[in-house]
Symmetry: C2
Subunit: 512 residues, 2 copies
């Protein structure tokens, strides 16, 4: 049994959400197949195996904050949100401070115990759960907000803060988080930074590289690397914090961060538009960038199959009739009259030119939230089909939707339920998803590695925002040169010479 | 003699500008003191000394593109723009391709020849010139623009492209460079990236970390590391290009870059405002951020002593009467009527509240350029006093101007001509400058290390945008923890194990 009493309220909330998904899914009666079974080529590294002495030390460092498989159900810590991979760890450590993490890692490094750092466990590439029996190091109890400086717009907080909680705390001070994503109710800022999370507003506010001012990370040997600058400009030495951003816990464990937050906009509007073909989608996007200019804060796409999944699996009704494509545009500005005028001009043009068939403009905050929810729950809606083959590709705008017609017939003939595209149109980042009732090697083989070869041919990225994790590490070569991968290995060897941090992730296996 | 005929037109332009400064300056009759004389504690590393065999190899790799002290005047390549440091190199290499740079570095690494990569040589911390006899590797002949993609707003170009040339090329396509700085007529994009250049519009468009999509760099051993992604989102592996951004040529030589460029604004306005005290400056800045919101694109400050230097040394008349402080605000937007209304509201408020005493609003492009020139030429105006002690500090907004009153009396009593502050108010980045007729150890000793201790106490950065170079490396510790510096050394040892790339820069000396 998981000791519910010892978990924080917010983590409880996550777990309940999680359990709902498990209950509602079609093929969830059994546990997910162990990663080591599903990926038989993966070999466990030469790490130590957890013993009683290790456990005693952990319990001394973290009194009352060590969960073990003997007394607790660790399934939720071992299984990813998508229910596609499952580790076999028998211990979860829940530190509260940077110093405790330092002590734990120092010990693990001495003992050659492998460690899987875990935030909200909402990652989509198998990066946030163990592959074999790695010690799980959860940041869930590190939720303190140290500072919100309204003058400079900086928030300093611990890695375990939930994104949505941070955004709510900032809202009270006239600020907002520069990122927003579907998992905001569960994902943690440490994980957002470690995976360079993108999301719905990257178009306007940029990536975590643009917004992270500094951070504290703990190296594999326990050394605390304090790069917690709170300054917008600080050119003192190498860009160390950028190295930890997006390195998925393989170079260090991020424990505290400083984020530059934009002022909360005074006026926000959302447009939910229906369009007849992708050509119209492209033209509408260009018009939006041109006519909305600096107030455009989001530009998202979903196709009809995504809409069907939301209606069928989530029982949510869309605000428009069936259309081949839906575009969601958000504007955020400092003057509602000006913004409204810009929106009206834009709508006149796109309706007048027949680019947009139907649409609705929403300014009422709770309505905005419920329309955003449609977009945000697509991932969950697709998951409820059973199993999702999930791809997160950046492509030039004109190729954004090509993957769907390219794969549709092939995968449908092989039993796929849906083949669809949605995502961050304004940034060229498409989420291409195929669903089936349960995992099938046959379907997987139809999609991979073809999709990566195709992406590489179009000079796209095989992972736009989800990262590499476990599932894409052998496909890194399609987006990174051999020399670049060699430099990555060199950096890994300096920061984590024993390779204990999140092993089997990010870096491709070395050919034998 | 410098072989003028072999230099490109643009480089010629730079050299002429440079010569003007040299002629006009008060203490420029002699060469600048050699760095090894001025900094007697610096010891030459155990590198090889250039010999005829080396020269023959260089001439084979770069036929007609090797300058030597025997036949050419290399003073301009050996001396920094501020005329504060001078190296003693006897060779300048001028490659045209990444492959040539690869061949050169491979050879230098094998031979243990130290190399100083050089762009436009406009750096202000002694990072862009040799310290002893390092081989100078100039990117000045690498000026090709490979691509301007108007759909995605991406420019791909070689490292030697001059910033202003790039901006002009983009303007024709409805785009702009996301950075702008006083040295734009000479500085090169490779140098901008290698130093993470900031400048006048960072407030709106972010740093080079926010805008650089990818790059090609050559490692010390000649390996070409191709991370030239042109995609806004690409989470495939470690953020290697961010590691080269701001590493000042010590980790690799940047040869090609991809930059995300914003659309050129349809409406630009400039306000030149006079204010009576720093309290009014702070309040005006807050009002600007609040009322101009998303259209604010620059927020700069200069004090009266800066204004005096511009009027006296550059013979440029300011558009307002004498005031203790001047604030320059720029707005850039997509709708001139909306922007004008926002500006009017802002002016009504700040004039009504007595924060701004006098001011002028300019919308005519050539007038905007000439008013910007006032701000941009402060550095040159101060240099014409003779010698400049230059500090580039980030501080919390409320402490932005404290350095000037703190140091003013001390340095004036010791013979300083001016003690002044200007810079990027909106980003908290103050340029604190003291001038004297010639270099004085006494004045230097009054300012350093006190200024760094003071900055550290106020949790500021000892280098906001200029970088560390040679001059600040011993002060890095005031902004970076020992553990962080240790990680920097580890990364340096992986990418450049022989330490041939820009030695004596960035990393502090190791205590003996």
């Amino acid at each position: 049994m998981l000791r519910i009493s010892s978990l924080s309220a917010s983590r409880l909330h996550d777990l309940r959400k999680f359990s709902n998904v498990i209950r509602r899914g079609k093929s969830t009666s059994n546990k997910v197949e162990l990663t080591q079974v599903r990926y038989p080529k993966l070999k466990r590294g030469g790490f130590a195996t957890l013993n009683d002495r290790h456990l005693t030390t952990f319990k001394n460092i973290l009194p009352g904050r060590v969960l073990t498989s003997e007394t607790d159900d660790l399934e939720l810590f071992n299984t990813d949100w998508l229910r596609t991979v499952r580790g076999n760890s028998s211990v979860v450590l829940r530190p509260k401070t940077t110093e405790e993490i330092s002590e734990i890692l120092k010990f693990c490094n001495q003992e050659k115990l492998a460690v899987c750092p875990q935030g909200g466990n909402t990652g989509l590439v198998g990066g946030s759960v163990p592959v074999f029996d790695e010690v799980i190091l959860s940041t869930s109890l590190m939720k303190k907000i140290d500072l919100i400086d309204t003058d400079s717009g900086v928030v300093v907080c611990e890695a375990g803060c939930i994104l949505e909680d941070l955004d709510n705390a900032l809202k009270d001070k006239g600020l907002m988080m520069p990122l927003d994503l579907g998992a905001k109710g569960s994902c943690q800022i440490g994980g957002n930074i470690s995976t360079n999370a993108g999301g719905l507003r990257l178009l306007r506010y940029g990536s975590m590289h643009a917004n992270t001012l500094g951070l504290i990370a703990v190296k594999a040997d326990g050394t605390i690397v304090d790069s917690l600058s709170c300054l917008k400009k600080d050119n003192t030495g190498y860009a160390l914090h950028h190295l930890f951003i997006g390195s998925e816990g393989t170079l260090g464990v991020v424990t505290k961060v400083a984020i530059q937050c934009p002022p909360a906009p005074k006026a926000v509007s959302l447009m939910f538009l229906g369009l007849k073909d992708f050509e119209s989608v492209l033209k509408t996007t260009q018009k939006a960038k041109h006519l909305l200019g600096e107030i455009l804060s989001s530009c998202e796409l979903m196709d009809l199959e995504c809409a069907d999944a939301v209606e069928e699996n989530m029982k949510i009704k869309l605000p428009l009739e069936k259309m081949p494509f839906y575009v969601i545009l958000e504007s955020s500005g400092s003057n509602s009259a000006h913004d409204e005028e810009k929106l009206n001009t834009f709508l006149e043009v796109v309706m007048g030119e027949g680019l947009v068939i139907d649409g609705t403009v929403i300014t009422e905050p709770s309505r905005i939230k419920s329309v955003w929810h449609i977009r945000e729950c697509i991932a969950e809606a697709l998951l409820r089909d059973g199993y999702v083959y999930k791809y997160d590709i950046t492509l030039p705008a004109r190729n954004f939707y090509d993957l769907v017609p390219f794969f549709n017939d092939k995968v449908k003939e092989a039993g796929a339920i849906r083949c669809c595209g949605f995502g961050h149109l304004g940034d060229g980042n498409v989420h291409f998803n195929v669903t089936s009732s349960e995992f099938s090697y046959n379907l997987l083989g139809l999609i991979e590695p073809l999709i990566y070869e195709w992406t590489s041919k179009h000079r796209g990225s095989v992972s736009a925002e989800h990262g590499i994790g476990l599932k894409k590490k052998e496909f890194l070569k399609y987006s990174k040169s051999e020399a670049a991968i060699e430099v990555m290995r060199g950096i890994k060897s300096v920061l984590d010479p024993n390779g204990i941090l999140n092993p089997y992730k990010v870096l491709p296996s070395i050919a034998e």
